[in-house]
């Protein structure tokens, strides 16, 4: 039966008789996390897919209404958990936009470095696990080797290797030390070689290339109207990157390219991700060279920001300042307004729409999750593909269930 016939709404119902239904997930290795697909198959060809999500809906947005701007950072961490710090940066970018805070240069650069490290972090895992799902276990091991190095960098800066909780309104938890800078430099030195190994295992792997090329095509028009952003949109030819188009942090001063590809298939998405890793490395190197000295917190006697920990422990003024900013009834007021702040997270545009009622906590903090919009495009991408392509397409759009369901 030709596909157009099945797709057209006027198709006779008895022509659908040969179809069979397959349940995919919610516990399936290729879903990486928890999502479910109900596939309509004609033989081995996917005619339609109906995603069923919500298997990890944990009420993030409800928690945003009870936790204050600094506390909620521990929760956003757990949203896109393969690049935790990218969420923190996005959240505090939106909060600082609402409060009208201008960060110190050093803080901007450190956040930029972390944002780009997280991009590498995310793309490594996304690509590595997709190759694993398509049958190649080796690239996954190489990817994790590099990821462990980034974990160590996070651990050195924040004390936690995974969910760092590192950013604060108007600054960072701690300043970084010189040996942290050395560590990142060391990573920049060793990463290109590891990248070559990894890229050889992925992009030159004939099985991988043949299983992803021409599979799961998303047209440019669909990508725009469907709300796709980030690597998924750029692989379809939408040349848009918030780092360049709406510069935040230190991206204005740094030189980098926006990686795009044509085709919009799975292979193009991986191409974009692989290219972006090198661009990120370029950004990190530049940012390290220009890393300014100075404080990481905005000059701090006001209600915004927190005093330096050393001051808190060693002086009564610091302790009073800390107390004033931490106690629930004394915290910073916020303008009675709504604000949307977005950053280019590894997965796409990660934004927060914050409605404030003048309190120290958000009245409503809506996350604009890239995964949700990408996954809603999934059934468009998969139509007409084979059953075995489901794993490739799922891997290429990098669905993170916690971000998808929140």
């Amino acid at each position: 039966m030709p596909l157009e016939l099945i797709d057209s709404p006027g198709a006779d119902s008895n022509q659908r008789e040969g179809l069979w239904t397959l349940n995919f997930g919610p516990q399936h290795p290729a879903t990486h996390t928890t999502l479910r697909l109900v596939l309509q198959l004609d033989g081995e060809m996917v005619v339609d897919a109906e995603p069923d999500i919500g298997f990890l809906h944990s009420g993030f947005e409800k928690l945003a209404e009870v936790l204050d701007y600094n506390q909620y950072v521990t929760i956003v961490d757990r949203m896109n958990y393969i690049s935790p710090m990218a969420n923190e940066i996005a959240w505090h970018h939106a909060v600082e936009g609402l409060l009208g805070i201008e960060l110190t240069p050093r803080c901007k650069y450190i956040r930029t470095i972390f944002a780009e490290l997280m991009r590498i972090h995310d793309h490594l895992l996304c690509t590595g696990t997709c190759v694993l799902d398509l049958g190649g276990a080796t690239a996954f091991m190489y990817a994790f080797n590099e990821r462990e190095k980034i974990y160590e960098i996070c651990e050195r800066a924040s004390g936690q290797r995974f969910h760092t909780g590192y950013t604060r309104v108007g600054g960072l938890l701690y300043d970084v030390t010189d040996d942290w800078v050395q560590m990142v430099r060391e990573f920049c030195k060793t990463f290109p070689k590891a990248y070559r190994d990894f890229a050889g295992l992925v992009m030159k792997n004939r099985i991988f290339v043949e299983r992803t090329r021409g599979v799961g095509v998303l047209s440019k028009a669909d990508a725009i109207a469907g709300g796709a952003t980030g690597p998924v949109a750029r692989a379809s030819g939408v040349e848009r990157d918030l780092r360049r188009d709406e510069p935040y942090l230190a991206y204005d001063d740094l030189d980098f390219d926006v990686c795009c590809a044509e085709g919009g298939d799975c292979y193009a998405r991986f191409q974009v991700r692989m290219m972006e890793m090198l661009e990120s490395l370029k950004i990190i190197e530049q940012a390290l060279d220009r890393l300014p000295s100075g404080p990481v917190f905005i000059s701090g006697t006001g209600k915004e920001g927190l005093p330096d920990k050393r001051e808190v422990y060693r002086s009564i003024e610091g302790l009073i300042h800390h107390f004033e900013n931490i106690m629930p009834n004394r915290q910073m007021p916020s303008p009675k307004e709504s604000y949307y702040g977005a950053t280019e997270s590894p997965n796409g545009e990660l934004g927060y729409y914050i409605v404030s009622d003048g309190d120290f906590r958000a009245y409503r903090a809506r996350t604009r999750p890239p995964s949700l919009l990408h996954f809603s495009l999934f059934s468009r991408m998969i139509r007409g593909c084979m059953l075995s392509d489901v794993a490739a397409v799922l891997g290429s759009i990098n669905i993170i269930a916690a971000e998808l369901d929140r």
Binding site: G54, A225, L372
Partner: protein
């Protein structure tokens, strides 16, 4: 968005809806327009035709405890022009018991899941949506958890499952 850009959109909307009651506001260079719920489809269609090709986000806010609010729900459309990078926020207000608003899926199909999520969380019905049901929560769930009158810890739904013991497993 620059000042001239705002007046662009103003012109677009005034041309399309000369009689509609639109209120414009601005905060930190983000432009917002409040429109009546009856005019929402006309406004969104006019903006889409004028270049707002992406629905960046669609969400709602429960204004039950918001100081000074007169309406119960606010539905927010964040629009984006992917070529020029201009953004515009369109807001509309709804009140109980008439929680119905026309769907934006015919305008941007990306609104599909976003509208279902708003229904899931707030109970706002989008009329004309092709596949309208809950998105995230189980079908059997009865409340709308993001409403302000729903407690954070729920009403005991999370404990309501059978217990499997060692002997049974």
């Amino acid at each position: 968005m620059t000042e001239s850009a705002e007046s662009d959109w103003k012109q677009v909307l005034e041309k399309a809806l000369p009689s509609a009651n639109l209120r414009w506001s601005e905060f930190r260079n983000q432009h917002r327009v409040d429109v009546p719920a009856s005019a929402i489809v006309a406004v969104l269609t006019a903006l889409r035709d004028a270049g707002m090709d992406q629905l960046c986000d669609l969400t709602a806010v429960d204004l039950l405890e918001y100081p000074g609010a007169t309406d119960r729900f606010e539905v927010v459309y964040l629009l984006l022009n992917t070529t020029s990078g201009q953004r515009l926020t369109v807001r509309t207000h709804l009140n109980e018991p008439d929680l119905k608003i026309p769907s934006a899926v015919p305008i941007w199909f990306g609104a599909d899941w976003l509208e279902r999520e708003v229904y899931d969380m707030y109970g706002i019905v989008f009329e004309g949506h092709p596949n309208f049901k809950r998105l995230l929560l189980p079908e059997a769930f009865e409340s709308f958890p993001m409403r302000k009158d729903y407690p954070v810890k729920g009403r005991g739904e999370r404990h309501n499952f059978p217990i499997i013991t060692r002997a049974e497993s």
